[in-house]
């Protein structure tokens, strides 16, 4: 300021000297007005007054008669001085006002940008954790903090850090910190100091406390380096967590703008967290509802199918008692019936358990490399004995697949079971595989039976769905087998779909991931 005052004064004086002596201008003192206005614009009212006063003294001393004295003869000069002072003050005030407005506007813009960053983080979040991390980052840079972390939990003791701008574990709850005290009214929030009972009392005063913070000392940080701040995250009065911050001690408490930003960020985070909670509760309720619905549908669907074979088993077992009237041949028939019914029940129970695991998302595929004919040998073998007068054609020559063999086996067993169950004797069943595009292996189970109507094809894999013209009665199916097949196939990276077969009946297509086998192994050269 002194520099501006001195320079403008000197320049103006030089100019006046030049005008009055070299060019014969009688009174060039109005040039000082320029100096006053310039200083007012550059350094404010104070500078303008200084320049005005200086101009008066210098001009009086150098240019007015009697020269080199401060004596004033001409009252007009006095008027000039008053004018200079007046202009200086007015222009200075105006300039200061303008500057203040520009500062405020830029601060507001900065605050708005920061707030925008906060709300956009929350609005476009993929996950709340990522959004909280961005918020912590915005607060750290915009509110001039050293480190900011967001913790979620009902109180500091149970809080869990969800986002942190620093490295490593954030410090434990410090013994002394400042908490933002927020009032329900429009009153501005303010920071109040709190401390744990028994903590070292703060020594010294002012903006920063000079006392060493035990928590910080313990964590090996330089004593007196950082102050701790906490803002509670709440929604509808329910505590949800905190924003914690550390600020260099040589800075003052966060100013209004910084405080406002932090408070607003906490509000937004609070709303988001409470919305997350609500969504979670809704989801949990939906899952519970669905699983209730599933349970009752399941019970309805299978109670009959469970009871019928049990009745057969009980009757057949009774006939096996020693001394009964049955011939050996009949006993053999009873024993066979028991075995068949147990096999049926085993499939049903396995499917029920699979279905519940599929519904619960609890299937974990353990994929391995197999050739289809190898992986499916057992499933195919097991239906051969139940073919009756049906004929079976198998051609599974295709590249190896990479699937969970147990899932594939169960799924194909169900598809084959379905084919047997819903086709008359004398049906031809064909199982073929081929290499499909994009590293996939296609497999089809089809028959020349009655097939299903085109409109029900997409529904075949829904659980408990039974095609309208499917056989009714005790062994008409529970609508579980194909649903389980789809669940298992999808869990192991495949797809399943139904269409009308060229043979005339139903075709179920399985699309499975082809195996990647090391080239040097696949070519037969030994590793």
């Amino acid at each position: 300021m002194a520099l501006v005052v001195g320079v403008s004064l000197a320049l103006a004086t030089l100019a006046v000297e030049l005008l009055e002596h070299s060019f014969g201008v009688a009174n060039a003192s109005s040039l000082y007005l320029v100096a006053v206005v310039l200083s007012a614009l550059l350094v404010g009212t104070g500078g303008a007054i200084a320049v005005a006063a200086g101009s008066f003294l210098v001009y009086n001393f150098l240019f007015t008669e009697p020269r080199f004295t401060f004596t004033i003869h001409d009252p007009g000069v006095l008027l000039s001085v008053i004018l200079l002072l007046f202009v200086g003050v007015v222009v200075g005030e105006l300039a200061a006002l303008q500057r203040g407005r520009a500062d405020a506007a830029s601060a507001r813009e900065r605050e708005a940008r920061a707030m925008f960053a906060v709300s956009r983080s929350l609005a476009t979040r993929d996950s709340t954790a990522a959004a909280l991390a961005r918020i912590a980052d915005v607060i750290r840079t915009e509110a001039r903090m050293e480190r900011v972390w967001v913790a979620i939990g009902a109180d500091p003791a149970t809080e869990r850090v969800a986002a942190d701008t620093g490295e490593g574990q954030p410090p434990a709850t410090p013994a002394r910190l400042r908490v933002l005290q927020r009032t329900p009214d429009e009153e501005p929030a303010r920071w109040i100091r709190v401390q744990r009972p028994g903590a070292v009392a703060p020594r010294g005063g002012g903006g920063g406390s000079a006392a060493a913070d035990p928590a910080l000392v313990a964590s090996g940080r330089p004593a007196g380096g950082l102050d701790n701040y906490r803002i509670r995250i709440e929604a509808s009065g329910e505590p949800l967590g905190s924003i914690w911050a550390q600020r260099a001690r040589d800075l003052d408490e966060p100013d209004d703008t910084e405080t406002r930003l932090m408070a607003a960020a906490a509000d937004q985070a609070g709303q988001t967290l409470s919305r997350d909670r609500a969504e979670e509760r809704t989801r949990a309720a939906e899952v519970a509802e669905q699983s209730d619905a599933l349970k009752s549908a399941l019970l309805q669907s299978v109670s009959h199918d469970l009871r019928t074979p049990l009745a057969t088993i009980r009757a057949a077992a009774g006939g096996l008692r020693p001394g009964g009237p049955l011939s050996d041949e009949d006993r053999q028939a009873s024993a066979d019936a028991i075995e068949r019914e147990v096999e049926y029940l085993n499939r049903l129970v396995t499917n029920l358990l699979d279905l519940s695991r599929i519904e619960a998302g609890a299937l974990r595929a353990r994929r391995d490399v197999f050739e289809l004919d190898d992986a499916l040998a057992r499933a195919i073998e097991s239906i051969r004995s139940r073919l009756g007068a049906r004929t079976l054609e198998v051609n599974l020559a295709a590249p190896p697949v990479e699937v969970d063999p147990v899932f594939l086996d169960e799924a194909v067993a169900n598809v084959l079971d379905n084919a047997l169950k819903h086709t008359p004797e004398s049906t031809h069943i064909r199982i073929v595989a081929h290499e499909a595009a994009d590293g996939r292996v296609g497999m089809t189970v089809e028959d020349d039976g009655p097939g299903v109507r085109p409109d029900v094809l997409p529904r075949l894999f829904e659980k408990f769905y039974r095609a309208p013209d499917a056989a009714r009665g005790s062994r008409g199916g529970t609508g579980i087998g194909l649903a389980v097949a789809r669940g298992l196939i999808e869990a192991t990276g495949g797809h399943v779909s139904a269409r009308r077969s060229e043979l005339g009946g139903l075709a179920i297509d399985l699309d499975l991931p082809m195996a990647m086998v090391p080239e040097e192994l696949a070519t037969g050269r030994s590793a």
């Binding site: 358990l353 490399v369 190898d374």
Partner: protein, 259 residues
């Protein structure tokens, strides 16, 4: 069965009373001497006391993990056969038990014939030699001669790579029993190859192709059986060559003395 010649002793570890008594009835009728245990602790006590010829072990025990029983027994006895009774949802545990040294498994619900076949094979393995005096092992028309390092199918020589030869040797010495992929990898490739399951897959397919190409009987086509998710098993076909006993011929239970 003559009571004077008691059959091999089987320790049946199963917590379900009905399942256990059904097993006991069946096994006793088949000529075995049966010791029962309802839980893991009792099982280990009775095992130490009686040293049975075979342990039939249910994996889901009330007091301890069935796997721990396998480990405990294997720590003291390398050879006592252990056959696992596993449920459909114990796939991982079953493989783990086999990797820890169990010999075979039967999936519940199982048929009596299937169980008896598995027990016979398991006991034979423990008593019979792993091949004849000349180190020859075989199954069906396949004969592997370790001393001369050659494999013949129905007398016809088959050209195998060293890995394929070793793979076949391991499978044949375990004829009728399952060998997990992990154990195959360790035996044929070494510890460094753990997890490289595709090696086993590729070599088994090559081996099958070569054996099938040399075969005229059609028996070899399905000689090496895949147990999905577990491993491989060479079918328990008797070797027609009178000189090759394989790892012991099936011996009817009850005629088998204790080792």
């Amino acid at each position: 069965m003559s009571p004077a010649a008691p059959g091999p002793t089987i320790l049946v570890v199963e917590d379900d009373v009905e399942a256990r008594s059904a097993l006991v009835r069946e096994l006793t009728a088949s000529g075995y001497t049966v010791v029962e245990a309802p839980d893991g602790r009792t099982a280990l006590e009775r095992w130490a006391l009686r040293r049975p010829d075979l342990v039939l072990l249910d994996l889901g025990l009330p007091d301890m993990d069935g796997l721990r029983v396998v480990t405990a027994i294997r720590r003291e006895a390398a050879t006592t056969p252990i056959v696992i009774l596993s449920g459909r949802f114990e796939e991982r545990e079953k493989v783990e038990a086999l990797d820890r040294g169990a010999d075979d498994y039967v999936t519940k619900p199982f048929g009596v014939d299937e169980l008896n076949a598995r027990l016979r094979v398991a006991i034979r393995r423990a008593t019979g030699p792993a091949g004849d005096a000349a180190g020859r092992v075989g199954a069906g028309p396949v004969v592997l001669d370790a001393a001369h390092h050659e494999v013949r199918v129905g007398g016809r020589l088959v050209d195998l790579t060293p890995r394929e030869f070793e793979l076949l040797r391991v499978l044949l010495t375990h004829r009728g029993r399952i060998v997990t992929k992990g154990r195959l990898l360790r035996a044929v490739w070494g510890e460094a190859y753990q997890g490289e399951d595709s090696y086993v897959y590729v070599h088994v397919s090559q081996l099958r192709k070569k054996l099938a190409a040399a075969d005229s009987t059609g028996q070899v086509e399905r000689l090496i059986v895949t147990e999905p998710g577990v491993g491989y098993r060479v079918r328990d076909l008797p070797s027609p060559d009178p000189d090759v006993h394989g790892p012991g011929e099936p011996v009817p239970p009850g005629t088998l003395g204790k080792p």
